[in-house]
């Protein structure tokens, strides 16, 4: 079963980022074919050296590093979403595959189940 999780929300504002992360780690137990997509404002979740303590938020970014441990290797990021936001796609907190919007859409259409956060 090819399952995809799409992250479209900023970190820290609401709980979306953390809920999506929990879902990814949980789902990784059920399928070998889990892909995680970051697009639109979701790319902000991968920006390095965040200091959420300054707004009393939990620091969830280190948890992304668990992706390897949970065999979540397929992480796609929309390159255009990064450039539009002045984010350097080569300086994200985890290794990712950068895709152009067209490629990203193709990858999405290969999925059987998709959950958006």
């Amino acid at each position: 079963m090819k399952i995809a999780i799409i992250n479209t929300q900023m970190p820290h504002g609401m709980a979306d980022a953390r809920e999506s992360l929990d879902a990814a780690l949980a789902l990784s137990g059920f399928t070998e074919n889990l892909s995680v997509f970051f697009l639109d404002d979701g790319v902000y979740q991968l920006v390095e050296n965040q200091q959420p303590q300054s707004i009393l938020q939990r620091h969830i970014q280190p948890t992304f590093k668990l992706f390897d441990l949970y065999d979540i290797e397929t992480v796609y990021v929309c390159e255009q979403s990064c450039l539009l936001r002045g984010i350097d796609p080569k300086r994200l907190c985890i290794p990712v595959q950068l895709l152009q919007p067209q490629q990203l859409s193709e990858k999405l259409h290969q999925q059987q189940q998709i959950i958006r956060f």
Binding site: T8, P11, H12, G13, D41, Y44, Q51, S54, G86
Partner: protein, 96 residues
């Protein structure tokens, strides 16, 4: 004199775009939470924001920038105390 606060990212919400034409001559604009990203990259609202900054009427809540691993050279950075003094200095506040 009104303090306008905006909290949404301009990339997925129109609030910042909508508030700019409503600012009075000496009103203040304070960006908080997700809207702080508006001063971290050039986009179609940057010109208006730079204009406000030149007049010392654009403020950005620094803890929200730090939380997101971002920085900005546009607008006056304030902490929470600064936020409070902006509220004290103005007659009323509208949050968009």
């Amino acid at each position: 004199m009104i303090l306008h606060t905006v909290k949404h990212s301009p990339f997925n919400h129109k609030s910042l775009e909508q508030v700019l034409p409503r600012l009075g001559q000496d009103d203040y604009l304070l960006l908080i939470e997700n809207s702080v990203v508006a001063v971290t990259v050039t986009h179609e609202l940057s010109e208006a924001l730079n204009e406000l900054a030149l007049q010392q009427r654009l403020f950005v809540l620094e803890p929200d920038l730090l939380a997101r691993g971002l920085s900005s050279s546009v607008g006056n950075l304030v902490d929470y105390k600064g936020f409070v003094s902006l509220v004290e200095k103005t007659d009323t506040t509208i949050s968009w």
